[in-house]
Subunit: 318 residues, 2 copies
């Protein structure tokens, strides 16, 4: 599987952003370790999701490319599929609930995808998607339970280790498990001794419970500000996690916001709540990182800033 | 003078952060140029000011170091002097108006400086500072009208050009003129053909008016959200600007906020209003940048995020 991450990296070399690795004297002082943040908030579409979507779509047979791809998402994966398909000259259809925010609809449409709306019941998206696949023979690009998506996601950790050298521990957030799975494959291939730790919101702790009990326990109506991590593990990601991941930690909503505030205030990084989850795990989890070299995947930076800029506009005098 | 910027760079090599240069496909597409952002929001204390303060204090004779340094500021320069003095084992006194925000007081004190409060009248700071200098023989570290501070500030542009190569144009914000002066010395020394452009808030346009009329015209009660740019030029910075700077543009408050929104939303950078001013000049000024290589100094990222995180805290459910 590691070979596939290497191959994905070649495919992405000139297409994805080689995102910077950031460090903080302050964070190193607080933790006693050397902490390296791989900042995928600087990735195209503002999140690591571009890596997986591009890697998956680029490898489709010509016939499938000709018919087009589909996914259902209202978040970063929608924009990732839209942009990747656009760059590869493939038609993309994104199924979104009819109550999705205008910002997200506009962004996804801006990358050239066709939006098809569905109802707002949890099952509506999958039904609408299945219906369209039957009708048009589109290929589904699953947001995480797809090996090529996983290999693509793993290229972030690959680049991190390539740049900073061997690590003792790598943390990544866990939603559907695509990022942590890909990360774990890259880490095991490059520095097999390193521990891979998943961090998950306590309010959406399906991966934690699945990992501890050995069988998939999906989250029911998870309520977390980390909107990218509300999904539950898939069978493929769960299997990889069981094999490669040392532990899964959970963090509270307050801890997520504290970590996010540190990233914004001290490190000047616009990071979405999901992206701050691994730092919350580092700061508030019971990890031994003193004198350790610790990598962390900051997954994305897409957050609605409307309210913040409204506050600022009230301060100006023209 | 260029030699002095090079010397400053040697002094800062292991002490200041070598801040990243960021680019944006989107910004290049909009402008038709190649735009390079030197991100001093990632500098120590969150702004370029650290460079000048450290360069100035490090060169003081031992006797002056022993007596300590002083400055009056409630902004980034206060923190810069506090941290630089601390690193050089020099005592620092910062004079601040008694109504300064707790956040700024705590940050400056956190770097180990002694805070002395003064009244809130515009003349109170200088009077209190003069009184303390007379009493204790402190050395004043002026925020901009000081050659060593200017040379230090110029090291950001030096690093930028060293990293990305020759540029056709370099933009920097103008407040007291330290950053634009230092930038212009570095640019003229490394690629003499490049135009150096200062950008200033229309609501604090003393440099624009001074530049156009040929004599210093200070701002009176400037009201701009770019709080780092409310100060007026000094005689030293004005002279360097007259010699080296091709033009000074002004931008409105709305344009500053639009540029800032682009930096946050699209580039995921926490930048303070002053730091967004050069981008506002690029986007809304009448510059010819098509097919040009344009550098820009993003001066800092210190902004109060309390209100924004308060909004986020209201969204979470523990």
């Amino acid at each position: 599987m590691f070979d596939e991450v290497e191959a994905a990296r070649e495919r992405l070399r000139l297409i994805a952003n080689r995102t910077p690795v950031m460090t903080s004297r302050n964070l190193n002082a607080i933790t006693g370790g050397q902490i390296f943040l791989k900042c995928e908030n600087f990735q195209r579409i503002g999140a690591f999701k571009f890596r997986g979507a591009y890697n998956a779509i680029s490898q489709l047979p010509l016939e499938e490319k000709r018919k087009g791809v589909i996914t259902h998402s209202s978040g970063n994966h929608a924009q990732a599929v839209a942009l990747a398909a656009n760059l590869l000259d493939v038609n993309a259809v994104i199924v979104m609930p009819e109550n999705s925010s205008h910002v997200k609809i506009a962004a996804t449409r801006g990358y050239g995808a066709k939006i098809v709306f569905c109802g707002i019941k949890p099952t509506d998206r999958a039904e609408k998607t299945a219906e369209l696949i039957k009708q048009h023979e589109y290929t589904l690009i699953h947001p995480y339970n797809d090996l090529n998506v996983i290999y693509g996601a793993g290229t972030a950790a690959y680049e991190l280790i390539e740049e900073v050298g061997s690590l003792d521990m790598v943390l990544a957030p866990v939603g559907g498990g695509g990022l942590i799975s890909g990360t774990s494959i890259a880490v095991k291939g490059l520095c097999s001794e390193a521990k891979v730790i998943g961090v998950e919101p306590k309010n959406a702790d399906d991966a934690y419970r699945s990992f501890k009990t050995g069988k998939i326990v999906p989250s029911v109506n998870p309520n977390t500000i980390a909107d990218g991590l509300r999904t539950s593990l898939g069978n493929i990601t769960f299997k990889i996690i069981q094999e490669n991941v040392a532990d899964i930690l959970t963090v509270t909503e307050k801890q997520i916001l504290k970590a996010m505030k540190f990233l914004w205030e001290r490190m000047k990084l616009v990071v979405e709540p999901s992206g701050a989850v691994p730092l919350a795990g580092l700061r508030f989890g019971d990890l031994k990182v003193k004198n350790k070299r610790v990598g962390m995947i900051i997954s994305g930076g897409n957050i609605d800033l409307t309210a913040f800029f409204k506050l600022l506009r009230q301060q100006i005098q023209s």
